[in-house]
Point group: C2
Chain length 348, copies 2
């Protein structure tokens, strides 16, 4: 049975109101009184019950983050970013995974979050148009990361630019057959990231006068094995690509693994570019388009806290910069690759 505020009051010989004030550092408490209260609280090991404090004050001092998954690099980095600012403000962090429509509905309606958090950050949560509206209409302050929502503050990357930048880099190296490894969602209207990156890829190809070849665009499931499988399928094509743009570094790692298994030189036989700038990317010497993932979490948290503190403001749409980082996995396209390959085959 932990000590309650009444116990402290009794021991300090003051009222509970004074204990509350003294412990929260409010003004209008005599220094001597405050000292006595602090002493009594310390002696009793008193800590205010968060539920009771929250119930009475209307606040929870907790902010929620909704992610589809916790384990993958991207989400763990966003979480770390949010955590940094949340901890800095002496708030707590509630993490919830939202990976199905029931979860999205609960999130949008505010169910399960009432009395738990003062606001929520939804990271790559593929809400329907209607759910977004519900969330916005909700009394719960919310910020979106990764996906757009008109009437809500968002932290976004220009994913069309991401796709275009990476593709232009490969084009500039002379590649003309460029594989695209991404993710085919059931509903691209909701999880729009792959679709936008693909658009950038198409734009860059078009600008170079290259006709996109649908056979070069494969699903990689945003995972390492998925990337490997996609690369395998691409390389099995009659006219395989000389370069691959993977929509995440993890898929790029899968491509690199497959290339190594096939004995292909990178970038000699195959160039690979990723997206993210994963911690491991530099160690792997992977060319990639970086995004400030942790920074996105921080920005989202700042945005959310501003909404919570200031009440409703105009929903800010923040676009964070991406940047091409050229490293060792991309290089010039061979003038003629197929011949040299035939030669190899002949030798074998």
């Amino acid at each position: 049975m932990p000590a309650s505020i009444g116990d402290v009051a009794e021991h300090a010989g003051v009222s509970v109101a004074t204990v509350s004030r003294a412990l929260r550092g409010l003004p209008n408490v005599a220094p001597s009184t405050r000292a006595r209260v602090l002493e009594a609280a310390a002696r009793l090991g008193y800590v205010a019950d968060a539920r009771a404090a929250g119930l009475a004050s209307g606040r929870t001092r907790t902010i929620g983050v909704a992610v589809p998954l916790i384990g993958p690099w991207f989400f763990s980095q966003v979480l770390a970013g949010v955590e940094a600012v949340v901890t800095d403000r002496d708030l707590d962090l509630l993490v919830l995974t939202v990976d199905d429509d029931a979860g999205r509905q609960r999130l949008a309606s505010g169910a399960r979050l009432r009395g738990r958090v003062d606001g929520v950050i939804a990271v790559d949560v593929a809400l329907t148009e209607e759910q977004r509206a519900t969330l916005a209409a909700n009394d719960l302050p919310a910020v979106l990361v990764g996906l757009r929502g008109e009437d809500l503050p968002c932290v976004l990357v220009d994913n069309v630019e991401v796709g275009r930048t990476a593709t232009e880099h490969l084009l500039s190296l002379g590649h003309t057959r460029i594989g695209l490894v991404g993710h085919a969602r059931d509903d691209p209207l909701r999880f729009s990231v792959p679709e936008e990156r693909r658009r950038g890829y198409h734009e860059a190809l078009a600008a170079a006068g290259i006709e996109p070849d649908p056979r070069l665009e494969l699903d990689g499931n945003f995972s390492i094995p998925g990337g490997a499988e996609a690369a395998e399928a691409l390389l099995a094509l009659p006219e395989p690509p000389t370069a691959i743009l993977a929509m995440s570094d993890e898929m790029a790692f899968g491509c690199l693994r497959l290339a190594r298994q096939r004995g292909l030189a990178v970038p000699g036989d195959l160039s690979v570019v990723g997206v993210d700038d994963h911690d491991v990317a530099a160690a792997w010497d992977l060319t990639t388009v970086s995004q400030p993932v942790q920074g996105m979490g921080e920005q989202a948290a700042e945005l959310l806290l501003a909404v919570i503190d200031a009440g409703a403001t105009a929903p800010a749409h923040l676009t964070v910069p991406s940047r091409l980082r050229v490293r060792g996995t991309t290089g010039p396209a061979k003038a003629d690759r197929t011949p040299s390959r035939s030669t190899q085959d002949a030798i074998t």
Copy 2:
């Protein structure tokens, strides 16, 4: 202003007690009454306030996880494991970072957690003996992951075995000069993992009749850059090692990067073995000692829930298995490496 239980009661024409019972699925509610209540609740979009429910019931339906950091792979995987079982039981997850002594003290004393969680899992939190005792004496159910605590339930890996297994593998390949890249904590009594792995390394060397060379044991900070730096220093030794045991895969990645930069063949010139079986390890073909990281999180959560549900039980100490996974970064030691190197130098 969200609807309260009173509003629902009014709309359904029953008392608040009945609403509470009906909504929580308790028995002793007439089906027709329950239906009316559910209908009213749905119409009003009613959700019980978690603070009020918690205050009245004494429970929070939330469990806490304390980690030193959120971003690194190991912690994000443990979190994912915990999250899986927590979500399964329809509980919430509060994440807090504890990375300094003030934080450890707060955690041990239960401060900041009162009224927030029903129990806490501390992952690799380097508590002092005294703090562990405080935590154990606390009314807050707690489970430790990674570090031992006599009077608390723990989920552990046999880290001596981890070090021994990895070292024996290298010895069996003929390596005799084996570098060790780990972490030098101020107080190895508190964060004992590196010390234990080092012990296993020493044991294996001793069993092979090899005298340990302190110059071969370096700090790698459990990070990729740290691993690279350590590898650099090791390779700069007059008699460089032919193999490196890195205490984490991330440090092993750093070693591999450095090796590649130096133009060293792996495993031809240098063998590298890690610990963890990081997602990326397989893609990199890294030999490593795997531990069921996500599983450790799950086990810890199960243990904690058992303590919460069943009250105080004998503190279980669970040891999860580690396993050597031989892949491509380890190979036979060259018979004589130094000579061939001199030749190279001469040519250059």
